[in-house]
């Protein structure tokens, strides 16, 4: 413990003091609590400033002593050893004072620190409390705001409006006395009411649900029932087939036909429907059927993507083929024509049976691109008919249905729009293709409900049911009468070619019993030959002889007189009577232009034909006309005045009874036969 070291160690003194204090404390730990520095009690008594002063003094003393010591020591140690010891003891005392002062300082410091520490702790505690309280305040404020903002769920419920509420709610809930005044109670009451309503509705909902379940179950049951019904019905249908056949009620067949009919194009469908309806309602002898391949018909209506693929493929193929085939444009055009004239694969057949079991078969086709229908006809007769040579054309399929309605030749297409289509592919007229395609008569279009106004192209002509219906009955009647008249003519021609004019018993009264002139020849002649005859010009000019008509030549003879008769047979035969043109070769050629009587004979058969029709269908008109011609030739020849310049008797003695031979400015002979009396008179 040198003074320098104590000076130097001053700052460390505290520590070293403390350390050994602690060391000591370690030893005398239990004494620690007991060790009680007396300075602690002195601290409060002494004044720190004085202590400081004391310290300074002490330090100065020490310094002085030290200096003296030093001085002494410098003088020599042995001499001043007592003074050095004295000074040393003084310095030790000073050191003791210093130590005490140090302790005091330390203890002051410690106390100071303790006091500060305490105060600090208190402050901390208060601070903490403040914080706590502040926190709590904030918390409470939050709570308050929360409470203030609280939306009770009841506000989300849409309540019934006040008026309604008071109206509807029962009084025990609404309690108007109370609730009107207090809003809280009011709201409560309203909520009560709401609750009650909801409960009721919830119950209703449950009930509805249950009933719905029930109904669903019932539906299920019924569906199962129905689905089980279908196969049973089918089996019944199958089982009933033999019964149907037995009873001649082919429902199944009809059903199948309707199935196929669904694939028909619209005009054919209209025709089919109308014809079946007509057949069932009015005419049992009309049978309608559908022929053709249904698969092909279905194939026509493939879905668009397939057909587009096909088109692109076929386009590619076509390109290739055209490159290879470039020289043969004609073949291409031919294909295009074939394409244009293509027929729908399905066709409708109508079979018209007549009373004498002759059947007229009509097959109706539909040309898809041209939107017209065509018909082909065929006749099957009940018995084999001997074909007369002149009757060749009568039943030919080509001309059988000609001019069913006046002017309907069936050679031109009735659809004016087709002309433009034809121009594209170089078809001149449809008549070139009529033999294979059938005839596009106007009445056929009308039966299919297609109505083409004359000479005015229209965009689309759709099949119309009412048009077909109105024409069906008339057309069927006309077809029947056409067939029957042709068959009757066929028979008559067979007989005429043998020189016999067949006159039925009902018509015998039109003619006298004895007629000497005979029919010698009956042939068919072509139109050109007819036109060349000199005495037919009037008829052609009057428009009564066209190239659709049939022409015949009859030769009637008596003695040296030969009467040639050129006959125009209109296709609408017995309603449109044939027209005769006469030429008599007897002592010169006489015809209507130079002999009034020949003209009168012509008018007897051409104009006064009503009596010659005979019994109802009137098919005997032609034979009666021929017979009448024979009769009037007789009268003509017999009433010819005797020419005195010629010698010998008259070639034809008068055998017919005539009242007067000449009448009127025309000086006509009596050509009219009066029945029961049997004489001839003038008209």
């Amino acid at each position: 413990m040198s003074s320098e070291s104590s000076k130097k160690r001053k700052p460390k003194v505290i520590r070293t003091d403390g350390a050994p204090a602690e060391g000591k404390r370690g030893k005398g730990d239990t004494d620690q609590d007991v060790r009680y520095y007396s300075e602690e009690s002195e601290v409060d008594l002494r004044d720190p400033i004085k202590d400081y002063e004391l310290y300074r003094e002490t330090c100065q003393e020490l310094q002085r002593l030290m200096a003296e010591i030093q001085e002494l020591k410098s003088r020599g140690i042995k001499e001043n050893a007592s003074e050095i010891d004295e000074r040393r003891v003084q310095s030790c005392v000073h050191f003791m004072t210093l130590k005490k002062l140090n302790r005091l300082a330390h203890i002051r410091l410690k106390k100071g620190r303790d006091q500060t520490h305490e105060a600090k702790q208190k402050v901390d505690a208060y601070h903490l409390q403040l914080q706590n309280l502040l926190y709590e305040v904030m918390h409470l404020q939050k709570e308050i705001t929360k409470c203030l903002e609280f939306k009770s769920k009841h506000e989300e419920i849409e309540l019934v409006s006040l008026e309604e509420f008071y109206k509807e709610a029962p009084p025990e809930i609404s309690r108007p006395a109370i609730t009107l005044t207090e809003p809280h109670q009011q709201t409560l009451a309203r909520l009560d009411w709401e609750l009650e309503q909801r409960k009721r509705l919830a119950e209703k909902y449950k009930e509805c649900l249950t009933s719905k379940e029930k109904i669903l179950k019932e539906i299920e049951v019924k569906k199962e029932y129905l689905s089980s019904l279908q196969p049973r019905l089918n089996s019944i249908m199958q089982a009933s087939l033999p019964v149907q056949e037995y009873l001649f009620m082919p429902f199944d067949q009809a059903h199948k036909q309707y199935e196929t009919a669904r694939h028909l194009p619209p005009p054919l469908y209209v025709l089919f429907v109308q014809a079946s309806a007509y057949g069932q309602a009015c005419d049992k002898k009309l049978v309608v059927a559908i022929e053709g391949s249904v698969e092909e018909a279905k194939a026509l209506y493939k879905p668009p993507e397939d057909s587009q693929d096909d088109e692109s493929d076929s386009d590619a193929e076509e390109e290739q083929t055209t490159k290879r085939r470039r020289p043969t444009l004609g073949v291409q055009l031919d294909d295009k024509r074939k394409e244009m004239l293509k027929r729908h694969p399905l066709s409708v057949t109508l079979d018209l049976k007549c009373k004498d079991d002759n059947v007229l078969h009509l097959t109706f086709h539909y040309l898809m691109n041209l939107n017209v229908m065509t018909v082909k006809a065929k006749v099957t007769t009940a018995m084999e008919m001997t074909t007369a040579i002149s009757a060749g054309d009568l039943l030919s399929p080509d001309s059988l249905l000609n001019c069913l309605y006046p002017g309907d030749h069936g050679r031109k297409t009735p659809n004016p729009a087709n002309q433009f289509q034809f121009d594209k592919v170089g078809i001149l007229t449809l008549s070139d293709y009529v033999t294979e395609l059938g005839h596009p008569y106007v009445w056929v279009q009308k039966l299919g409900g297609l109505h083409f106004p004359k000479d005015q192209p229209q965009h689309t002509v759709a099949a119309d049911n009412s048009l077909s219906a109105s024409h069906m009955e008339l057309t069927v009647k006309l077809l029947r009468s056409r067939l029957q008249s042709r068959l009757a003519l066929h028979k008559q021609f067979a007989s005429l070619e043998h020189g016999v004019v067949p006159v039925s018993s009902e018509c015998q009264q039109l003619f006298p019993t004895k007629i000497v002139s005979r029919l010698v020849k009956w042939t068919a002649i072509p139109y050109e030959d007819y036109a060349e005859l000199p005495y037919t010009k009037d008829v052609i000019e009057a428009g009564l002889a066209e190239d659709t008509h049939l022409y015949y030549m009859a030769l009637i003879e008596r003695g040296t007189a030969k009467l040639q008769a050129a006959v125009v047979l209109n296709p609408g035969y017995s309603t449109l009577p044939p027209v005769f043109s006469l030429c008599l070769n007897w002592k010169g050629e006489r015809n209507s232009s130079n002999d009034d009587n020949i003209r009168a004979m012509e008018s007897e058969v051409n104009v006064y034909y009503k009596e010659l029709w005979g019994p109802k269908p009137g098919y005997q008109l032609l034979t009666n006309q021929l017979q009448r011609l024979c009769m009037v030739l007789d009268v003509y020849l017999e009433t010819e005045p005797h020419d005195p310049s010629v010698e010998g008797p008259k070639e034809f003695p008068q055998e017919k009874m005539c009242l007067r031979l000449v009448r009127g400015p025309l000086r006509l002979k009596p050509f009219k036969f009066n029945y029961p009396q049997g004489f001839f008179s003038h008209r």
């Binding site: 209507s592 130079n594 029709w613 009127g664």
Partner: protein, 310 residues
């Protein structure tokens, strides 16, 4: 089974093929022509309308067609107000004023007396004058003509004679048996006299015998016209004789016997020639015959146009 509506047209077409117009008559005012055919119809044509400069196709058709008789109408004659039509045993009178309108009915019908019901006489010739019963012809009377200066009527008939009658007394004055004369008789055609026309002292007649011009006072034929076919109607016009008959031609003959012209006409044979003296144009001649067409001539040299029966 007959379809109702076309049958009318069908029958009509055939009728028109065989119709003969047997008589014509001009209206008193000169504007209309009445033509009668052998189906009993009388058609009225607006002649002045058809002759006018703006005439169209419709003007050439009949203005009205009257169903006059059930039988053929053989003759027509006109007075100032009336049109007389003669048919099988009856004469009907029509008022010219009403003929154009629909539903025209005859004013009166007279039936001349006939001996038996079977032989109902046809009225072949009509001329307007008083009536007497003139007996004499053996056979039917074809044609009647009035003389201008003298009150006489000539008649020609089937028996081949032309007789003159006095209208006041009803007695036959003169008889000419045409067929007995060599120049004109043509026995192969017959002896009937069909056409007769007279002017002052001259008469032209023909039919079976050739058309001949006679001098009435002497009763001798002066000129025989060399027409091969029988003639049905002849007229004196200015200094010509117009005649038509079998053959589609109108003959213009001069009194000396030369054939001045032979005009082609539409009908195959002519039955009736009618001059229209009072029409605005001076020379209008209409001819008709075995055809539904009536030819109109404004100049005798050629046919102007035709009216047609429908």
């Amino acid at each position: 089974m007959a379809l109702s509506s076309p049958s009318g047209g069908v029958r009509r077409a055939r009728q028109l093929l065989h119709v003969s117009v047997l008589a014509q008559s001009a209206s008193p005012c000169g504007r209309f022509l009445a033509a009668a055919n052998d189906f009993g119809e009388i058609a009225i044509f607006g002649l002045s309308a058809a002759l006018s400069a703006e005439a169209k196709e419709e003007n050439r058709r009949a203005v009205a067609v009257v169903r006059a008789h059930n039988g053929p109408v053989y003759s027509l004659a006109s007075t100032e107000r009336l049109l007389l039509s003669g048919s099988d045993g009856e004469i009907r009178a029509w008022s010219w004023a009403e003929l154009g309108r629909k539903g025209c009915r005859e004013l009166w019908t007279r039936r001349p007396p006939c001996r038996s019901s079977l032989e109902v006489p046809e009225i072949n010739g009509l001329e307007v004058n008083q009536r007497h019963e003139l007996r004499g012809h053996q056979d039917l009377v074809h044609v009647v003509a009035l003389r201008e200066q003298l009150p006489q009527v000539l008649s020609g008939g089937e028996d081949g004679t032309v007789r003159l009658w006095d209208l006041r007394t009803g007695a036959q004055v003169q008889l000419i048996e045409v067929h007995k004369y060599q120049e004109c008789s043509r026995p192969q055609l017959g002896k009937w006299i069909r056409c007769l026309a007279t002017e002052s002292d001259w008469m032209v007649c023909g039919g079976g015998p050739a058309l001949t011009l006679w001098h009435l006072r002497s009763g001798t034929p002066t000129t025989v016209f060399g027409l091969a076919q029988p003639q049905h109607h002849a007229l004196f016009h200015q200094d010509l004789v117009l005649s038509g008959g079998v053959g589609p031609a109108l003959h213009l003959l001069q009194l000396s016997g030369d054939v001045r012209g032979k005009v082609p006409v539409t009908p195959a044979a002519l039955r009736s020639l009618c001059l229209h003296p009072r029409s605005p144009e001076h020379q209008v001649l209409t001819v008709a015959g075995n055809s539904p067409k009536i030819d109109v001539f404004t100049n005798l040299g050629y046919r102007a146009f035709s009216l047609s029966f429908t």
